[in-house]
Symmetry: D2
Subunit: 332 residues, 4 copies
């Protein structure tokens, strides 16, 4: 249990959320028109410095797959992607395509929730008591027509900067995997930084990637034929509600995890649902990445002790989206 009972009554998530929102709110910090939230902390100087971190030139993909065999189970209609073909090689060989001079083609289509796999939450993804980021009325921001104000396209090009891997799983547990339900505390984060050394220092404008190790565990399950289990929404390690002040104080630009839901599940309050999201997105204006795959990157970082890199993670430019798939690349 990482919630400090002196500060948080587990029976009162609403009170805790209200108090935290008052402490950490960034509403108005960058003007009433702002749509960039914590990405305001990330500027070109920081990007230039991040490029200078590239030593070997090796790219690491932090993306999971997008396909029917994913973890989604249809919660609130979040399904796995359905990928189908419009044209195929078998059609080409059958001679039914009608193209000249022996050319043939294949083409495909996808239907998918934008948050079905590796993704960024946009600022229109979560509301608190009717308000969206920067104190806007939620129903004037996101309707059935999409996000009219903070659509993911407003930040698409900005998601590039210094990435820092905090391999909490490896720093805190000898087997490298936090158990499901483990709430990562501020102390865990700081201890991870200490263990990993100075390349892990976290500051303004950084994009932090937290590896819990849950995906490593799920990958073993998949390899054994036992499926994803409850990766999508079930018990999982993740950030404690108590880290909200750290998220604010460090002035990070964004944060991502290898889990479905970023924060610890079950949530730390009774009858609660993603309380840290409720503060982090609409009040902090923080960008949250979920379902990232940090395992290969973590192995490389562990080998040479360098936990910082150039991270490029520009979301797909879907106009009006409240979240979007992304293929993050860490270049070390």
């Amino acid at each position: 249990m990482t919630l400090d009972p002196a500060r948080h009554d587990p029976a009162d998530p609403e009170g805790a959320i209200k108090a935290a929102a008052q402490r950490v709110s960034n509403w108005g910090r960058w003007g009433s028109e702002d749509v960039h939230g914590t990405l305001n902390f990330l500027d070109d100087d920081k990007r230039r410095a991040a490029a200078a971190l590239v030593h070997a030139g090796t790219p690491y993909s932090l993306s999971q797959s997008f396909d029917m065999d994913g973890p989604q189970k249809g919660w609130r209609r979040r399904t796995n992607p359905i990928h189908t073909m419009l044209d195929t090689g078998t059609d080409h060989v059958a001679g039914v395509q009608g193209f000249p001079h022996g050319i043939g083609g294949a083409d495909d289509v996808i239907t998918m929730p934008l948050q079905c796999s590796t993704q960024w939450d946009g600022l229109g993804h979560i509301f608190s008591h009717g308000r969206a980021w920067n104190d806007r009325p939620a129903d004037q921001v996101v309707s059935g027509l999409g996000d009219a104000v903070t659509g993911i396209e407003t930040v698409g090009a900005l998601m590039c900067g210094r990435g820092v891997l905090l391999d909490v799983g490896r720093a805190v547990r000898s087997d490298g995997e936090l158990p499901d339900g483990y709430a990562i505390s501020e102390r865990d984060l700081e201890e991870t930084i200490r263990v990993q050394g100075p390349t892990s220092n976290v500051g303004a404008g950084d994009i932090v990637i937290v590896r819990t190790g849950q995906l490593t565990r799920v990958r073993r399950s998949l390899a054994a034929g036992d499926g994803w289990g409850d990766y999508a929404g079930g018990p999982a390690p993740g950030l404690s509600f108590g880290t909200v002040d750290w998220l604010h104080r460090t002035q990070i630009a964004a944060i991502a995890t290898d889990t479905w839901g970023f924060e610890v599940r079950p949530n730390e309050f009774h009858d609660a649902f993603q309380p840290l999201h409720q503060v982090a997105i609409p009040h902090l204006g923080l960008f949250i990445g979920e379902m990232w795959d940090a395992d290969e990157l973590a192995a490389a970082c562990a080998t040479d002790g360098r936990y910082e890199f150039l991270l490029t993670a520009a979301p797909l430019m879907v106009t009006g989206a409240v979240g979007a798939p992304v293929h993050p690349i860490a270049l070390r």
Copy 2:
């Protein structure tokens, strides 16, 4: 007319394709199991050198939008993306979402052809006389189940390296825009490199971005309320079939344009369809990007005369896809 009549009979695309394929084929070059094609020319040393090209740290998005207002007209069922909402801010305000402690959420879904907007063609996208890249039988590579061999996921993490902008529109035409139907010749490419200076030199492993200026023209039309016109498949500037040897000789890793179809349209042969694709993809193993937006990047390059940069353009990891959307970021 850029086709050399001494080499190409416009009435015989099949013959020209056959001859070109024999000259430039990379089949077997990297072994019979290869799925990386020309990405074999791009290694970590080149990526490290590319990162060193970053001066100002300014990111440039090379992505067009993904939405219903795109250029697609349904040719072979290539439609524009349909983006709909699963949950909304209006639902949150109406109190119908059923979440506790004042949290609300929005979520979305997309249905789209994978090549509807800014995208990479994968090696399974085009076939020639029943064969796919590396002389594989097309019907054993791409069926209704997707690309079983060269799916875009096999190269997803590799699309990061030195980008070079060849602003042919600006180098060749005073108004910066090649007219529709203009076939870019090898001489145009070399002249552009000469005009732009040594930062434009093109070599092994580079990712070349050719700006024709057509998108600039279309953007004016859109601003005037006149729509996309025939951007999707109509007349357009693009590479001449005659550049196929240059594409081969330079050993570039990939190439992208600001047009729908990469090569000049109408195609340079009678009764032809994308003949350069038929050589470049299945025979060369070349990765082709289409519908990229190079205008902001081109303006920046023209200002300081530096046409090289770090390009990160990792396609969405759709398992078995023969092409995939991408958000390319040029970091200068």
Copy 3:
């Protein structure tokens, strides 16, 4: 112009709608829990009588096609259906399906707006000043989760009864086609009944099909290669706002037309959008069918002078849908 200026001020659609709603409202008529609206007028006795109308046993399809070549242009994201294959005969022949003993299969998928082609509007399709059918608050009936109260599944099995064709096009115009913009008045409806004779009498529980002839005209355009034109939302013949009292007085169960929008377009008021819908659906509780194809049926009726038949038009049972595709069959 069929609006009676003594009753309707074309500059005041809101006033006309309000007055009409007060005259014809069925709110509370069948109790506060009702979800069947005017289908309450259609009972088993009427269905039995309708079955007795079958003379020849010939079925007539009143359905248009569902495919990419439809009339939709993307207005409010109403596209044409996208039909793709999961498995194909070409895959079977290529031997990639993996089934035993020589069996092969084909399977398909569709993505479509539920109102893209021949369809029924459900009672949750239109609201008036925040209220849905039977005076329910619109935001408690239809959210992003669908129609929680009057979803089309609540009436799916009831859409079977006596159909009556009112071939207004043929009765009123010598060429059988009302011009676009023609507002069908109550007098036109009554004149059509008189011309067609007693098999056309309209009474409680009937399902009325109005043929305007617009689809006949569009079909010629399609055959000539000139496309759908503005069939989806453009100028069209249709019912005048002034018919609202006839719709109420006759106690019909439902009504359908061969047009996109049922009522005349442009609408008869300045700055208006589908004012008859606003009274007919939320206030009358009337079921409206659109984009039906009555041409073959009309030809048969004209031949033998019988305009009544058994109509079976059960919408697809999509849970929570505010409208649904249907394949209506008239059995004569």
Copy 4:
């Protein structure tokens, strides 16, 4: 075990299929151009007679629901329908729709496999050794572009005639439910007809509905919160391969069951997949309905002993579909 070992070697499905196909093939029976298959047995006289069977005028829906909570588990990408909203009542109340005079609207979209719920198999759904119905080459009939010859639209209007319910579950088992894996034999079918009486006689042009009772069992499971289990593809009662001669001899126009797969599962041969389909669809040209809900109808039939009725079951007119959803209505 209902397979007669004298005729069928369970280790040799291929041989059994070949022998059966030779006995019952309808190839050429209605000419080489035929696309109607066994629907040729159903004519207007039979439809007129069917209409005369209507006594009470009560309609019975034989449709299951189309929604996310269906039985599909993604086998070969057959998912449950995804229904989302384009416009909603909550948007209307939030005032973001932009319509005049107080009108608001809701609209929806669906993505679904065409065989996800209550459906007809078209003649292009199954192939045998490279051949489709009427000895056509499968790869010339169904490609990624759809079914170019026997698309469901070719028979859409014909699916109306005399329906006969064979409640095998009730006739054969005291609890009204055949156990999973129960193979319905020709003797079971004839015994059901005998028990039910002369209104159940089956002859040329009839549409037979076989109730196994499996859906009744699954419905109990759903009510208990235990889900669909393996309804989609798992063990189920269904027709024995041995009924193929009865299907042929009776000259029925079509047949439907309340199960996922029509024939008994597991199939009666070792290493087999839907062997009865392989004969019934491509060789017999028989239309097969699956996932129908016959429970309410069966209760009514059991009450008054009349098992025949007018059945209208016109599939959705999806151009080129190899199967299509349908809302079948039995009018008694």
